[in-house]
Each structure stands twice: as C-alpha cells, then as structure tokens.
C-alpha cells in the first residue's frame, strides 16, 4: 500500500516531473507530490491525496505527523517545497472563493477587540472587496450563519467572553458565511464540549448532504467510524487513503502510529474488518 522506497526517492528528486498530470479530475481537493519542510526536516513528504465531494474525510495521524501542515500547505498558508494542489481541477490560487478554512482555535488572540458578528463578517470580506460596504444583507447572512451553529444570541459578545466550544462554533459560522464548496477544518473537535461537538457534526453532515466536500484534521480515533466516510492516514508520508470501511483497519493504524498506539486501545475502536 505504501509506496516503495525506490519510488519515494525518485519523487524526492523530482516531485513534479514524476507525477502524471492527473490533476484535471476536478476533485474538490487533490494534492500531488506535496512536500513541506520546516528548516531541513520535511514535515510532509511527497504526499498524494484526493478528497471526494459529498463526503467527510478525516486526516488522521500521530502528533507531528504533518496533518495540519498538509492542510495549510494545500491552502498555500505555508509554502510548499514541491508539489501541485488543485481545487475542483483548478489551481488553488484561482479557486479560493470555493474554499472555506477553519483554523485551530489556538491560532488567534481571543482578547482581540472584535465581536462575534464581526468575526463572521470577516468571512465576507473577500466578497465585499476593498471599497464595498458591509450592508444589512451581509449582516443578515452572518446572523443566519450564527443561527446555524446555535450562536445567534451571542452576536454582540466580545469573542474572549466565549467558551472554547463557542469560539469554535463562531469560526465554523465564519466559514459557512463564505458559502464555499470545500470545507477544510483543523481539529474542529479539539477541546470542545459534547454539545458543541454534536452541533458541529450536525452542520458538517448537512454540508455533506448538500454535496460539499468536508475535510477535517481529526485526532479522536474513537469517533472516526461514526463521523466520517473517508480517512486519510498520514505520518509524514501517506500511509493509506480510502473509505472508512476498507481503510480504517488495525494494520493501517499500526503503520501510521508505529508502536505508539496501545493494542488495547486499538481493540476498543470500531475498526473495519480486515479484507
């Protein structure tokens, strides 16, 4: 399943050229031969991945495996050393209007002077442009997005007064305001309460039923089978990708986590039967 060592070496020398130009498939998100490096240590090495529409995909791997890095590199938030990214068959730079991103909650300063509704309106900045006015219709739309995540009563709160789960919901509302077709979420369930986790998963499932593509960096193996349709297993390089039914297996998890996942832990997971 994993690429052989010789193949990897070739890809390392020439990440682009060795890949066939199969990026024209039009998949919501396709990355080919992407390598990202902090200093001279690759965090993500020559990864290929295709994320399907109308499905929820979990990116799974141990800490430091490059899950968030892959997402950020796909978006161009951090530079790629090599590789191509296409969004619905287009280069990511021209398809930004179709992508919504939910960063990790810890990535911002929550004492920033801004209110909940203002954060959601940020999702409309690109649409409005430099000179445009944020009109009543924009506010109504932002309010509707807040309503969808159950936060409409909090519109005028300063964001620092929210609980962690509420902050995560506001970030999701901002992404909803973009009305995108591809949703990329970085650990949306990390450190949130049970009610928020339910609220978020409900919204994501409704996006899925609208035919959107949802991709989450996910760390809780216990909920993978319940929440997701597809998994992408990564530990610097790609380990496996495919439907939960065929790919979320003990063997693949062992390959992803090495010895770090206790056998007893694996036994308790709702894993796919080995095929």
């Amino acid at each position: 399943m994993a690429p052989g060592a010789a193949q990897v070496a070739v890809a390392a020398q020439d990440g682009r050229a060795t890949r066939p130009a199969d990026t024209s498939t039009g998949a919501p998100l396709a990355v080919r031969g992407v390598t990202v490096s902090y200093g001279e240590k690759p965090a993500v090495f020559s990864v290929d991945a295709t994320f399907p529409a109308g499905a929820m995909t979990a990116i799974i791997g141990p800490n430091g495996a490059g899950k968030s890095t892959l997402l950020k590199a796909a978006l161009g938030v951090i530079p790629r050393l090599s590789g191509d990214v296409t969004v619905f068959g287009e280069p990511v730079e021209t398809a930004r209007a179709r992508i919504a991103y939910v960063p990790q909650r810890a990535s911002v300063d929550w004492d920033f002077p801004t209110t909940v509704i203002d954060v959601v309106l940020m999702g409309l900045y690109r649409q409005v442009g430099l000179l445009g006015r944020l009109a009543g219709t924009h506010r109504a739309k932002a309010q509707a997005c807040l309503d969808r995540v159950g936060m409409s009563d909090f519109a005028d709160r300063q964001i620092g007064q929210l609980s962690g789960g509420q902050q995560q919901r506001v970030f999701l509302a901002r992404a909803l305001a973009q009305e995108a077709d591809l949703y990329l979420l970085d650990e949306p369930f990390a450190g949130v309460d049970a009610a928020t986790e339910r609220a978020i998963i409900d919204v994501l499932k409704s996006l899925k039923s609208e035919g959107k593509a949802v991709v989450c960096v996910h760390h809780d193996l216990a909920t993978v089978a319940r929440y997701f349709d597809h998994v992408f297993l990564i530990n610097v390089r790609k380990i496996a990708e495919g439907s939960v039914a065929t790919t979320f297996t003990g063997a693949n998890l062992n390959a992803t986590y090495g010895g770090r996942l206790a056998a007893t832990h694996i036994d308790q997971l709702a894993l796919a039967e080995p095929v």
């Binding site: 950020k72 978006l75 161009g76 938030v77 730079e93 930004r96 992508i99 991103y101 960063p103 990535s107 911002v108 300063d109 920033f112 002077p113 801004t114 209110t115 203002d118 954060v119 940020m122 999702g123 900045y125 690109r126 409005v128 430099l130 000179l131 300063q158 901002r174 973009q178 990329l184 309460d193 049970a194 009610a195």
Partner: protein, 405 residues
C-alpha cells in the same frame, strides 16, 4: 494659564494656530495607523523605523547643500528620512524572515546602527559652514519654532492621506492582525499587507518628525490605540477613538508647548497622551483597573454571603471575619452572630436550592445544564419554574433548617 487658553482657542498667533492644527492632524493619522501596529503586536518595529529616519535627514541635508541649495527644505529632509526609514524597515523584515534572528533582535540591531550613523552625520554637519544654523537636532525631539505655513500643509496633507489609506486597508489589516492564517487561506497576501501597514507607519513617522521628533513618535503611534482599547471591544471603534485621542493629545500638547518659548513639542504631546492613558487605565468602565477591583470585591462578597448562608443553614459557626461583616451588613445576622428572621429564611432557601441541584443532577444527565452549577448562579436562571417544581415535588415539603421537628 491665559496663554494656554489662548493657544487652545487658536488665538495665540498665526504660527501657534498652524502648529495646533498640524499636530491634531498628525495625531489622527498616528492613532489610526498605530491601531494596526498595536493589534498586530509589532509596536517596536515602528521604533526601529523612526530611528532609521535620522541618517536620511543628515544625508538629504548634505546632498541639498552640495547641490547649492539651502538644505533646510522640509520636503527634501522628509524625503531623505523616508528613504533610510524604508531601508531600515526592509532590513528588519529581511532579518526576521531570512535569518535565525527574532524580530526583536533585528529591531535592536537596525535601531542602534541607523541612529548611531545619523548622529555621526549630524556631527559632521555641525562642522560644515551651512550646517551650524540648520537646527537638524530639532528632529530628535520635535520643535515648532520657525515652522512655516508650507510645513503645516505638508503635515496636514500627509496626515489626511495616511488616514485615507488606513480607512481603505482597514479590513485586510484587521483580518491579518486577528487571524493571519485565515487571511492567507482566503487569498490575502499577508506579507504585502504587513508591508503596507508598515509603510503607513513609516509615512506617519516621517510627517511627524518635525513636530514630535523621531525619538517619541512611537508614543504617538502606540499610546492612542492602547488608550482606546480600554473603552471598546470593537476594532473599528479602536481606530476612531485612537484617532480622536491622538488629535486631542496633539492639539492640547501643541497649545501647551506654545505657552513657553523653549518648550519642545514632542515630549509635551506625549505627556498629554500619557495622561489620557492613565485616566483610561483607572476609570474605563469594563477594562479599567478600578472597575476590575470593584467587580472583584462584589464577587467576593457574593461568595462570602452564600457560604455564610450555607453555614447558617447547617447551624455551623462562622469564623471568617469578612463573611460575618457581609451577613451583618445585610441584616442577616445580629451583632452577636445569631441569624435574624430574614437570615433564617434565606438560609433555608439556600439549603433548599442546594438540595434542588442534587435532584437536578439525578434527573438531568445533560452536563450542559447541571454543569452550570458554580455555587453562585441562582437555580432559577438555569431551570424553568416547572422543572424546579418537579425537583420540589421529589424533595417533599419544607423542613425546619436545623432538622429539629
């Protein structure tokens, strides 16, 4: 004193009026542009930029004199200062991005080297024939002496342009300051927006050189937004309030310095701004120090009151002095520590609420509701009256507080 009020009312003469209006314009521009510096947490970059203007002033003077000019043309000096300030800014950016140095180290290096070079140039200029009366050292701390009408126009126009650019870029700059990753993900070029922000700061620094001076201009950029932050939770309001605070400090400071002939303008303006900051620090309603102390005392009293009532309901002795004073102050206990009629009633109600919470935890598995127990929140705020009635039904009828029938 009358001189000061005359200056405030623009009656202190043509020159003082000019200075006052220029300083107010500069204050608006500095406060608005500085807001983003403050929100992006890069206040000290502006200090490096400001100090990097000095060699530019010196070089421009030497160049203008060697070309046969007067050398004191404000526009020429400011253009020169903008060139070296720009170089300093790019150097800080480059060092922070391309080397292992952190930004504060890069700031320290650029600031001291450029300032040192500038001082050397000023010393050289002192030895030149044309240099003795140039008064270039006034760019260090700012001076209004001998300010010309065209100088004031330069400051006012430059300030207006800077305010306009800030307004134009307010959304991308806010987004980059709050959440740079998201900004990049939706397609903003974060590096270019950061550079635009610093260019704005540089422009304000350059036009403020004459009035406030390069050593203190950083205060004009930072104190107004920090002060404004005390009064509002919205970034748009921080921009406007900071502009207003900058304008008031600039105007009042300029008027004050006009009352004494040798008073430097920059330090006075900064002191006025600092006064507004101190005032806000203490009296601002939500974020101010006084409000925080009052809030904490009030909260402490609520805790002690509740604990005292619980102790009364269990007929336990109360030892805590603050608790005793709180209960006595509200007439819940007599001076000898025995509960009054009201005290006993309230204690019974408190005990009953605790009991209701116990029942609530049995019935409701939803941690979202029972998790709101913190010992202080009244149960009526968490559960509806019919739910509480249900708890009471399970508890049974009221019983005397001390358990005796």
């Amino acid at each position: 004193m009358t001189a000061f009020f005359n200056a405030l009312a623009l009656n202190a003469g043509y020159n003082a009026a000019l200075v006052g209006i220029g300083a107010a314009m500069l204050g608006i521009a500095a406060g608005a542009a500085g807001t983003f510096l403050f929100l992006r947490k890069r206040a000290l970059v502006s200090d490096a930029v400001a100090h990097a203007t000095l060699p530019g002033v010196g070089l421009a003077f030497i160049l203008m004199v060697s070309l046969g000019g007067d050398g004191r043309s404000l526009i020429g000096l400011l253009l020169g200062s903008a060139v070296t300030a720009g170089i300093g800014l790019v150097l800080v950016e480059w060092m922070a991005r391309r080397t292992r140095l952190s930004e504060d180290a890069a700031i320290g290096a650029v600031l001291s080297v450029f300032f040192g070079f500038g001082i050397v140039l000023l010393t050289v200029i002192q030895t030149m024939n044309a240099g003795r009366q140039a008064g270039l050292e006034s760019f260090l701390l700012g001076s209004t002496a001998g300010m010309l009408f065209q100088d004031a126009v330069v400051i006012a126009l430059g300030g207006a342009l800077a305010v306009f650019a800030t307004w134009l870029l307010r959304r991308p700059m806010t987004l980059v300051a709050f959440d740079p990753e998201y900004a990049a993900a939706v397609g903003y070029n974060v590096r270019r927006i950061d550079l635009a922000m610093m260019a704005l700061v540089m422009a304000v620094t350059v036009i403020g050189l004459k009035l406030v001076g390069l050593i203190l201009i950083v205060a004009m950029l930072i104190i107004p937004p920090v002060t404004a932050r005390f009064w509002t939770e919205s970034s748009t309001h921080v921009i406007w309030y900071a502009g207003l605070i900058g304008a008031v400090s600039g105007y009042v400071g300029a008027a004050l310095s006009a009352t004494a002939p040798a008073m430097p303008t920059g330090p006075i303006i900064v002191l006025v701004a600092a006064g507004l900051f101190l005032l806000s620090l203490f009296v601002a309603p939500a974020r101010g120090v006084t409000a925080a102390v009052i809030r904490h005392r009030r909260f402490q009293r609520r805790v002690h009151r509740r604990q005292g009532l619980l102790a009364l309901s269990r007929s336990e002795p109360i030892h805590d002095d603050f608790t005793l004073r709180t209960l006595r102050g509200e007439g819940l206990i007599r001076p000898d520590g025995v509960a009054t009629e009201t005290g006993r009633a309230l204690a019974a109600k408190t005990a009953r609420d605790e009991h209701r919470w116990d029942i609530a935890r049995e019935i409701h598995q939803d941690a979202g509701l029972t998790g709101r127990y913190d010992g202080l929140t009244p149960i009526e705020q968490v559960f509806a009256p019919d739910e509480i009635a249900e708890f009471d039904r399970r508890i049974g009828g009221p019983r005397p507080v001390d358990g005796a029938v």
